[in-house]
């Protein structure tokens, strides 16, 4: 099993990251009933004996879980968000040495994030990444989570991407970027986004752009479904993709619903690398199959279902509906209409009780309605 390290930069990156770790713990908790530190857990967490105080050498492999530490590096130039994480229920998941913070923030300025803080903190960032990498047997991928509109996430985030390419050229860099929506609160966000986009095109292996507006639309759709009509009663509230119930945090905060969607997407993306299946797809297969030309590595993602019904048995009709939904514009995490666009490549990641025959049937059904360039 390979390991991945999550690098979360800036306010948005850290908030999404926080939801990601919360949901990851929840997912593993529901699968791993015996509390054994297994391969699946090791892809994102270290098993650490906190009673020993000799610093870095206290990783335990196999056996019971003592204390889980996330394989993450948290970077923010303002202390607010990171402090909140450290005081919240997830404080034990992060090692204080994994954090890099400053006080005053980047002032929504890409140049401040990239050039000023970049040069100031370069060594510390490299040091931190190196330490995190050393704890891994086989490091496969860096997940960078950040926003494009702000200063830290956008500027320092892309600086970190450069560093990753320099220091770890063979490790994949998958970047989750939250793009500003029309009603964005940052006036300089267009500048920041464009400057960052250039960095992403040149230095990332794969980018998953996410748009806030799409997330808002999905959240509204779910809330509408939950509260309206008879379907509302059938939906399991705790199983919607916006729900953080069952996780570590107590109360839900404003952006949580939207961030949960992104966190779910990341979890599902990596699920094949963590859990077994009959047709496994590793992370490098994503970067391989979906990137026909080096610079065309922006992937549009979508998730289905948005909620599960209280009745667990999913009849084929509903399963087929799920496949169709995956291609519909209401489920995309960025505003786009797949059915009316040209596909270069497409990958379907399926979790759960789905058989080959279901896959075959649905691929045949949907492939004909999509225009694709390679005739696949």
């Amino acid at each position: 099993m390979t390991q991945s390290i999550v690098v979360q930069v800036g306010q948005c990156g850290n908030q999404v990251g926080c939801r990601f770790w919360d949901l990851a713990l929840r997912e593993h908790a529901s699968v791993n009933k015996k509390g054994i530190y297994d391969e699946a857990l090791s892809s994102f967490f270290r098993n650490v004996d906190t009673r020993r105080s000799d610093g870095d050498n206290n990783d335990i492999s196999g056996g019971k879980i003592r204390s889980l530490k996330a394989r993450a590096v948290l970077i923010d130039m303002e202390e607010g968000v990171v402090n909140e994480i450290l005081q919240g229920p997830l404080r034990d998941v992060f090692d204080s040495k994994q954090l890099i913070t400053d006080v005053s923030g980047s002032g929504n300025n890409w140049a401040v994030g990239h050039k000023v803080y970049g040069s100031t903190y370069r060594e510390e960032i490299v040091e931190n990444l190196r330490k995190a990498a050393e704890h891994c047997d086989c490091l496969q991928c860096f997940f960078v989570i950040h926003s494009m509109g702000g200063g830290t996430g956008s500027g320092l985030g892309t600086f970190v991407l450069n560093v990753l390419e320099d220091e770890f050229p063979e490790v994949y860099r998958i970047v989750t970027s939250v793009y500003p929506s029309a009603e964005d609160d940052v006036i300089t966000s267009p500048y920041n986004s464009v400057l960052a986009m250039r960095e992403l095109t040149e230095h990332a292996d794969c980018v998953l752009p996410i748009e806030n507006q799409s997330l808002v639309d999905i959240v509204n759709k779910i809330k509408h479904m939950s509260h309206s009509g008879k379907l509302g009663a059938e939906i399991k509230q705790s199983s919607t993709i916006i729900s953080g119930q069952g996780g570590v945090k107590g109360q839900e905060k404003p952006f949580d619903a939207m961030n949960n969607i992104v966190a779910n997407m990341l979890l599902n993306l990596t699920s094949s690398a963590r859990f077994e299946g009959s047709l496994n797809m590793d992370l490098n297969e994503i970067t391989m199959n979906l990137v026909p030309f080096p610079n065309l590595h922006y992937l549009v993602s979508s998730l289905t279902p948005l909620y599960t019904l209280a009745d667990v048995n999913v009849p084929s009709r509903r399963l087929d509906q799920m496949f169709s939904d995956a291609f519909s514009k209401d489920h995309q995490l960025i505003h786009s209409d797949p059915k009316h666009s040209l596909y270069l490549a497409c990958a379907l990641i399926v979790r759960g009780d789905v058989q080959v025959s279901d896959l075959r049937r649905n691929i045949e059904r949907n492939a004909s309605s999509l225009q694709s360039i390679m005739g696949l």
Partner: protein
Amino acid sequence: MYTVAFPSFCVHGPRHEEDIMDLVRREVEKCDRLGGFFNMMSMAGGTGSGMGTYITQCLRDTYPHSFILNQVTWPYGTGEVIVQNYNSVLTLSHLYQSSDAILVHENDTVHKICAQLMNIKQISFKDVNKVIAHQLGSVLQPAYTEGASEYNRNPLGDLMKSMVCHPEYKLLGLRNIPQMSETSLAYSVFTWPGLLKHLRQMLIANAKMEEGIDWQVRPPAGGLPPAEKGTHNKQLRFNTSLANLLILRGKDVQSADTGGFMDPALYTSWLPPGVASSTWRTPMSFNRYEKSATLVSNSQFLLKPLDGIVGKAWNMFASRAYVHQYTQFGISEEDFLDSFTALEQIIASYTHL
């Protein structure tokens, strides 16, 4: 160990060569008499196709006099992996150089067998693999070659001798009947003439399974000059064979009349049917079927799928899509072009059978 498509040929192959060949050597030393190697792999993915091809090459280099049979799984036509056509092209062209014979199983065909013959509603990979395993077992389980009084000591060798007489023609296909669900089996009765008649028509009409056989297709009347024969056959959609091996298992097997397979019209003109056709038998029944017949054939059956894959791969290559992923790991555009040329040659050879 995770791999990326054909790069496993260039990167992981050499890296693990020593360990793998070490393990192989230990197994070989345990054998009294090494019949050969039977490699199983897929063509679409990374490890199976790339590493599998590399290992086959290593085996060929290390054991130049042993038989090597590669069992290759042909991917679903609708696609499992986007670059499967590239991987397939590279795999087949390389395997042709180092392997003695390539036994092909098409996922689409096996899937149809599960759906239509075995009546499985929700087909899983376990079901598909079970069918493939059954078919392989029906070939490799012990049997008597013609006139022999003891079980065949060298099945792989005899298989090669019967099937692969010319190095240009290495693609083998398998048809096994009957194949049905447990419930249907209880109500079915089989006769050798019936089974053999079906198998023969399946061969001629290039039917991959025992349903939807086109009974209209007939072997051409004799006496046509070779050039005309080709186009005539094409019009009839007739599947010309180079060699056929019948393996019969079950009750009253000695009474089965395989004369239908000795018809010279079935075969290409430059090989006499006496040489091209052979039969193995055993009275032991196989896997709950009272009587079962398997046909291993070296024929034009794979022409259309092969042409399809090469066509799609070429289309993709025309735009150089994904090629940067391969060149990054050591497969150059030249290598691609060589592979395409090799496969076009194979397609041409089979077309003119």
